[in-house]
């Protein structure tokens, strides 16, 4: 215990190195076991088939029965499967539609349930995840021409569950090929299949719980598989005969049907021709009607125009009439007013006249009286005195001026005296009094009474003047009125004439309008008739064209039938013999991938642990050796005191063993909890069945523990060997450096004192120096392995996706859909994308007895050259495929042992063999590319290659392109090379992680072991260094002195480390490679520089830490 505390760092370093060795081996070994266990559990749970029998021409019920009857076979179940396309939204994906089984290859329902109806299906988990399809979604299954695929009754399915299928253990990155859509058996057309299956899953009799990776199982299974293989040829031959018979019958049936069809076609042609003639007649009629209609239409338009003119004129006249009427009415009113005024004036005139008459009467009476007075009454009475007169004011000559005094005497108004004179003169004329006239006149004039009338008479005069004036005005007004009346009457007459004319015009217009409407209606009717006629004609035409189309279709169908029948006849004539393929568990890619991974991991574990074990043993040896050296004298004393060798040894054994065992325990824990976890986490991304639980292996663990103990014991023993051998006396003395005079003399002349001293230091402390060199070498090895892995993958990725494959998308299409290629190319041209046409086929190939999938590409040299660089694996020179033979990639040539000139058999989709020879080997890192020239393809397959895919690059938006292409019939989807790149990157990220872990390990190794060793070295040299310092060596000089050895050991360690690292890196890369994955195996100078550089950095850091001791040396401690 005291030893341990004193040698803490050394003890820890043994613990650490033991831990690292154990961690590396067991951690990786556990991980390998974990991988196996996880896969085995998956297969066991889902009753993974032990064998699968696939027939090129279906398996009959008899075949299944025969399989079942094979010795060692426990169960057989037939499976329907068909390759088709899944359509979900704009996504299209090639899938295998597989019937669900009951006992073998059962599925693990992860979500939802199993189908209960024929239109329900379940999807393999990764397929659903890749297309983002959820339970409840609807999908369509179809062929490349969007029609339901052969043998499948249903096209549309509802997804009711997400499942895992034992055939698909690998994730898509690890397992290429179509994923499954699983449907009930009834979804397949079992009648069409006539009770046959596409393949049969076979379960062997075996012990419960035995792992499918177990060697025992594999051995037993091989026996049964061999039995199946023995049967396959005979069964296949039987099936061939059966198929031929069925085909011949079908051809006969078909011919009959075709003949019937032909007769029907002839009838139909005749009917169609008749109908065509009818249609032509109708067309002519329609044309005539159209001409007539056009004339009528013109006339109607004229009539309408006239009517419109008439209507306009009428309206104008009406307006005029209305205006005239208004004027007339106005004039009437004015006239009526005037008339009324005139009547008033007349009345006034009459009234005035009467008034005047009354005055005149007064005057006359006066005169009369005067006369009477003058001449007696009698005389007076004899005179015929005028009575008052009336007047008609309407007479123009009417006047109030005239004053009828007697019947015969009328005077005009003048002075009363003259009136009297005239009157008297008059009256007296002829009478006795004539002579006396003057006297009488005088008398009268003198009469009083006469005097009395003078006054009224004066009034009369003015009255008469007024009346005459008024009368004159009246007459004028009357005249005016009469003129107006006359005018009015004239206007009225004109108006009435107008009214009469208007009424006449209106009548004419209305008559015309009625006539127009009638014609109009007649026209519309005619037009409708024409339209109806036209529609009828169209209908007739359509019916006819439908009829024609139907007929053409029927003809096509007939021709197709003929072709099909011919093809069927040809097929029958060329019908290949049926072939059976029997696949064992390894035939499943997922199984094989897991197996290879687990095996490779375990190999890597072995490689790493060898390194750690080597370093570990040496560290124990050196540490214990140094302890022994330090305690030489003590040991010598102990020995001298009578202790046995074994007692002394026990002390060191305890030291070494306890450290080793603690390391082992820590290593087991670290391996189990950390390394295994990391490896499993890295690998579980490749497999579908979720998290991988850790596995523990008690037996290997125990063996490792025992081995570690033994190794540690041996190391201690070796280290202590001299101790045990030497007698106590010798041990108690100082050691003498083994200096040989010869060497000294030789070296003296050449080497400086320093170099000599270092060489002697090295020689006298070999154990420590060797371990230091080994540790540095180990550290450098780990680093170089790390960088080799890192550059191996990253360089491979950059070469593959930078130089080799330069296409970015593969657009697949069905070459049988003739328009597909042109339509797709059209869209690509519009997008400005230039495509290379290639034939791309996933074919199985057999070479050297091993079968593996090839992605066979055949195209014109320029098409290949544009998007794929083929470089000769030997020379690195680029080339294009030419001539006959297949070009395979290097990894394939290695794994299958194929070289130029070797025979390879390619199996087409129908498993027909086509023999080719290897024409060359090219460099490729990811994928299973194989190339044929067009000529080579024709030679191998009999036909020139028809393109079924387009390679493009530089598409800015592949998703949008997919959307555009997806409606095209025959478009089979776009594969993005970035998917492949993703899977490569995934490997890359795992290896980068591993590189990180390795750098960490190297750092740990450097830290714990180198620090220990350097510490050891310094402790040993402490006295020397102090003396140097005391003697005036500067700290720098002392450090330089100490570092010389470090430089020497580091350089040596790096040299060994680079060598070993390159070798181990190469080995590990080879272990990691798969059939379709190759790394760049050459160690890059950059990797070497980095490894060396980091090693130097580590040692420099460790020395910087350790050399602090030199700075802190206490000179007084000597």
């Amino acid at each position: 215990m005291r030893n341990i505390t004193r040698q803490k760092v050394s003890y820890i370093s043994i613990v650490i190195i033991a831990m690292m060795a154990v961690t590396a081996y067991l951690g990786i070994s556990y991980a390998s076991a974990g991988l196996y266990a996880h896969a085995a559990r998956f297969y066991d749970r889902l009753h993974f088939r032990d064998a699968e029998v696939v027939s090129t021409q279906l398996l009959s019920a008899d075949d299944l029965a025969e399989l079942r009857a094979t010795e060692g076979v426990a169960d057989v179940e037939g499976v329907y499967t068909v390759n088709s396309r899944l359509v979900h939204g704009s996504d299209r994906k090639n899938v295998s539609v597989v019937s669900l089984t009951e006992r073998i290859n059962t599925v693990d329902v992860k979500e939802g349930r199993l189908p209960e109806h024929t239109n329900e299906c379940v999807l393999e988990q990764e397929l659903a995840a890749g297309l983002k399809i959820a339970v409840g979604d609807r999908i369509r299954i179809c062929g490349s021409d969007e029609t339901p695929p052969e043998y499948l009754q249903v096209g549309d399915f509802t997804v009711v569950g997400i499942v895992l299928h034992p055939d698909l253990y690998g994730m898509p990155v690890a397992q290429i090929g179509d994923r499954y859509v699983l449907v009930p058996k009834d979804a397949f057309d079992r009648d069409a299949l006539e009770g046959c299956y596409m393949k049969a899953e076979v379960l062997y009799e075996k012990a419960d719980g035995i792992s499918v990776y177990d060697d025992g199982y594999l051995k037993d299974a091989k026996v049964v598989t061999d039995r199946l293989n023995e049967k396959k040829d005979a069964r296949a031959a039987l099936r061939s005969a059966e198929v031929r018979k069925i085909l011949a019958d079908k051809i006969e049936d078909g011919q009959r049907t075709l003949d019937d069809g032909k007769a029907e076609l002839v009838d139909a042609r005749k009917t169609l021709d008749e109908k065509t003639q009818e249609l032509l007649d109708g067309e002519q009629k329609l044309k005539d009607g159209e001409v007539q209609l056009r004339d009528a239409e013109e006339k109607l338009a004229d009539g309408k125009k006239q009517l419109e003119d008439g209507e306009k004129e009428l309206t104008e006249n009406r307006q005029k009439l209305d205006d005239a009427k208004a004027q007339l009415d106005e004039a009437r009113a004015e006239l009526d007013d005037a008339k009324a005024q005139l009547a008033d004036a007349r009345q006034q005139l009459i009234d005035g006249y009467a008034k005047i008459e009354r005055v005149k009467t007064q005057v006359r009476n006066g005169i009369k009286d005067a006369v009477a007075a003058a001449l007696g009454q009698e005389f007076c009475d004899s005179i015929e005195w005028a009575s008052p007169s009336s007047v008609d004011p309407d007479k123009e000559n009417a006047s109030a001026s005239r004053f009828r005094i007697t019947k015969n005497l009328t005077v005009t108004i003048e002075s009363l005296d003259s009136v009297v004179k005239k009157t008297v003169t008059q009256i007296l004329k002829g009478t006795e009094y004539e002579s006396r006239t003057d006297e009488i006149i005088g008398k009268i004039l003198a009469d009083a009474r006469y005097q009395e009338i003078k006054k009224p008479y004066a009034r009369l005069t003015s009255g008469i003047r007024q009346w005459n004036s008024a009368h004159k005005q009246y007459i004028e007004a009357l005249h005016k009125y009469q003129d107006g009346e006359a005018q009015y009457q004239e206007g009225l007459e004109q108006y009435n004439e107008g009214e009469r004319l208007y009424a006449e015009g209106l009548e004419t217009y209305q008559k015309g309008l009625a006539e127009y409407e009638e014609k109009r209606k007649e026209f519309e009717d005619a037009r409708q008739q024409l339209a109806d006629g036209r529609a009828q004609l169209e209908e007739g035409r359509k019916l006819l064209s439908d009829g024609e189309a139907e007929y053409a279709e029927a003809v096509l169908k007939y021709e197709d039938g003929v072709r099909k029948l011919d093809a069927a006849r040809e097929r029958l004539s060329k019908l290949d013999d049926c072939r059976w393929v029997v696949l064992d568990v390894s035939g499943n890619v997922g199984y094989y991938h897991a197996q290879t991974s687990a095996r490779n991991i375990s190999r890597i574990g072995m490689t790493f642990s060898l390194l750690f074990v080597l370093v570990g043993a040496l560290v124990i040896y050196a540490t214990v050796g140094r302890m022994v050296e330090e305690q030489r004298k003590t040991v010598g004393t102990t020995k001298a005191l009578g202790f046995f060798n074994r007692e002394i040894l026990l002390k060191y054994l305890t030291f070494g063993l306890s450290a080793t065992l603690i390391g082992v325990v820590l290593g087991i824990a670290l391996g189990y909890f950390v390394i295994e976890k990391i490896v499993l986490v890295a690998h579980q991304t490749f497999y579908v069945d979720g998290t991988m639980p850790r596995a523990f292996q008690p037996v290997p663990t125990a063996i490792v523990a025992v081995l570690a103990a033994v190794l540690s014991a041996v190391s201690v023993w070796t280290a202590c060997a001299s101790l045990v051998r030497s007698p106590a006396r010798e041990l108690m003395q100082e050691r003498v450096p083994k200096a040989q005079k010869k060497t000294k003399k030789r070296t003296k002349s050449r080497l400086s004192l320093y170099s000599r001293l270092i060489l002697r230091n090295v020689r006298s402390d070999k154990k420590r120096v060797i371990v230091t060199v080994v540790s540095i070498a180990g550290c450098c090895t780990l680093l170089l392995i790390g960088f080799t892995l890192y550059y191996g993958i990253t360089t491979a990725i950059s070469r593959q996706f930078g130089d080799i494959t330069r296409y970015e998308q593969t657009i697949r299409f069905d070459p049988d859909v003739e328009t597909a290629k042109d339509e797709i190319t059209g869209i690509l041209d519009a997008e400005g994308l230039s495509a290379a046409q290639v034939r791309m086929e996933n074919l199985m190939a057999e070479g050297n007895g091993e079968t593996s999938p090839y992605l066979v590409i055949a195209a014109k040299p320029d098409a290949i050259g544009r998007y794929f660089t083929l470089r000769d694996a030997e020379t690195g020179e680029p080339f294009v495929p030419a001539g006959e033979g297949i070009y395979i990639h290097k990894r394939m040539s290695e794994t299958k042992g194929l070289k130029t000139g070797d025979a390879v058999t390619l199996y087409d989709a129908k498993m027909n063999p086509h023999a080719v020879r290897v024409a060359g080997v090219f460099n490729n890192y990811f994928g299973t590319y194989a190339f044929l020239s067009e000529e080579g393809y024709a030679a191998a397959f009999g036909d020139a290659p028809t393109a079924n895919a387009l390679w493009i690059a530089g598409c800015p938006d592949p998703e949008a392109l997919k959307e555009k292409l997806s409606p095209i019939a025959g478009y089979d989807g776009t594969e993005d090379l970035s998917e492949q790149r993703k899977s490569a990157d995934q490997i890359g990220s795992i290896l980068t992680l591993v590189t990180g872990v390795l750098i960490l390990c190297a750092g740990m190794m450097a830290y714990f072991i180198l620090l220990n060793l350097t510490g050891m070295y310094l402790m040993q040299k402490q006295r020397e260094l102090t003396v140097m310092r005391i003697n005036g060596f500067t700290t720098k000089e002392v450090i330089r002195y100490v570092s010389r050895e470090t430089v020497f050991t580091t350089a040596l360690g790096i040299v060994f480390g680079l060598g070993l690292g390159a070798l181990m890196g190469w080995l590990i890369l080879r272990f990691l490679e798969q059939d379709h994955v190759q790394f760049v195996r050459t160690v890059t100078p950059v990797g070497m520089l980095l490894a060396a550089g980091i090693t130097v950095l580590f040692t420099a850091c460790i020395n910087a830490i350790a050399l602090r001791k030199v700075r802190n040396l206490k000179l007084t401690d000597l």
């Binding site: 004192l753 001293l757 005036g1032 500067t1034 000179l1115």
Partner: protein
């Protein structure tokens, strides 16, 4: 009082023994001074002898924290001079209060005098020097009884000198190489500190052989580490070749060790992987002005073993290689830390002979630590350390040759 008397009487008796019976007067005087300093519990003390030719006083021996070696004082100056000139004892109980006090060499050298006794060495005819004791450790003042003890000792000493004759060594004017003033070294110990050196004052002169004596743990190695440039003083002044080295940088120290100093260790410390010659060459390579490695080996008489590894040689031979290694740098000073401690008498003596030879014939100064008082007899000066202070520095007027030393 009676106890003091008894103590003084006992001291007187011991002084008498020393002075009357001892063969070597130097030692007798220094022993007597030691008794006085012990008995009176003084801080320091000295015996000064007057050189009538120069009329100057020089210290014959002294005790205390300061190195008085090499100091001379004019007669009549200072308390020592006054007493020697007047021939009368002086006791100044309190220097601060007594107007007679006019200073002392102790004051000049850094020990402030608080109380003192100074007694003349009077023989029948004249005064030949004085004895001085200063400062009591307990801080009390000197008393008359104590003066009497001194006077008694002085009388005895004067008589003895008269009888035996005292031949003072010619006072060579030696150059001081290294000077330590008030060097204090403390080491941390837990929360407190341990003061290992409590104020060392020492001069090392050119071409002298100084032996440092002292019990284990008295601080002699610590002092040597400081002088040797391997450690720093906590405080105080270290002057090397007139240059202040009190606070040197690591580089300065390294250069000092490299160019100025040679080391000889008790445990040889040779490089096991180098031969004798190579061990010497190894160091010669860094020296500024080395002598030939072969010559160095020849000097220690090991040329014929030049190609032997240390493990192939005896301890004495290894130590001689170690001396050759120190010599090869042609250093001004060699520090030797118990070089003979691990050797038997015979080989030890061989080693001492070599060292003696170095001092005599190479003019190198050697400072050697030993706990073997016999070896001190070959030194020019013997410095005794006690509890981190210099107990005494004695000048050997007549160093013994190494070959004559027996232990």
């Amino acid at each position: 009082m009676a106890e003091t008397d008894k103590k003084l009487a006992k001291a007187t008796w011991r002084i008498m023994e020393q002075l009357l019976e001892v063969e070597n007067l130097d030692e007798a005087l220094s022993g007597s001074l030691e008794i006085i300093v012990q008995t009176l519990d003084c801080e320091a003390g000295a015996v000064w002898i007057l050189d009538p030719e120069t009329d100057r006083l020089s210290p014959l021996t002294h005790i205390g924290p300061i190195d008085l070696s090499g100091i001379t004082v004019e007669n009549g100056v200072g308390i020592e001079g006054v007493v020697t000139q007047s021939g009368r004892s002086v006791m100044i109980a309190d220097t601060l209060k007594d107007p007679r006090y006019e200073g002392s060499i102790f004051d000049d050298q850094g020990v402030p005098v608080k109380t003192l006794l100074c007694v003349p060495l009077n023989n029948l005819h004249e005064t030949i020097g004085c004895v001085i004791a200063v400062n009591k450790a307990d801080g009390t003042l000197f008393e008359d009884d104590e003066l009497r003890l001194c006077e008694r000792m002085a009388s005895l000493a004067a008589i003895t000198i008269d009888e035996k004759g005292l031949s003072l060594p010619a006072q060579e004017e030696k150059r001081v190489m290294i000077s330590l003033k008030d060097i204090i070294k403390e080491f941390p110990s837990g929360e407190s500190t341990i003061r290992v050196l409590k104020g060392i004052n020492l001069d090392i002169y050119e071409n002298e052989f100084v032996v440092v004596l002292g019990e284990s743990g008295c601080g002699k190695s610590t002092m040597m580490n400081i002088i040797g440039g391997m450690d720093f003083a906590t405080s105080g002044q270290l002057i090397i070749e007139g240059k202040d080295f009190s606070h040197p940088t690591d580089d300065e120290l390294t250069r000092y060790r490299r160019e100025y100093v040679g080391f000889i260790f008790q445990s040889y410390n040779l490089m096991p992987n180098l031969t004798a010659l190579e061990n010497v060459q190894f160091i010669a390579e860094i020296a500024k002005d080395p002598i030939k490695a072969e010559d160095a080996l020849k000097k220690v008489g090991l040329l014929e073993r030049a190609n032997n590894y240390p493990a192939q040689m005896s301890g004495g031979q290894q130590q001689r290689v170690s001396i050759a290694r120190a010599l090869v740098k042609n250093p001004k000073i060699i520090f030797a830390d118990e070089p003979t401690a691990a050797l038997d008498f015979q080989t030890g003596q061989e080693v001492l002979v070599v060292i003696e030879d170095i001092v005599k014939n190479q003019g190198t100064t050697v400072v050697m630590i030993t706990h073997n008082a016999e070896i001190a007899k070959m030194a020019n000066r013997v410095v005794k350390l006690r509890a981190g202070k210099i107990a005494s520095i004695k000048r050997n007027a007549h160093p013994l040759p190494a070959a004559e030393i027996i232990w």
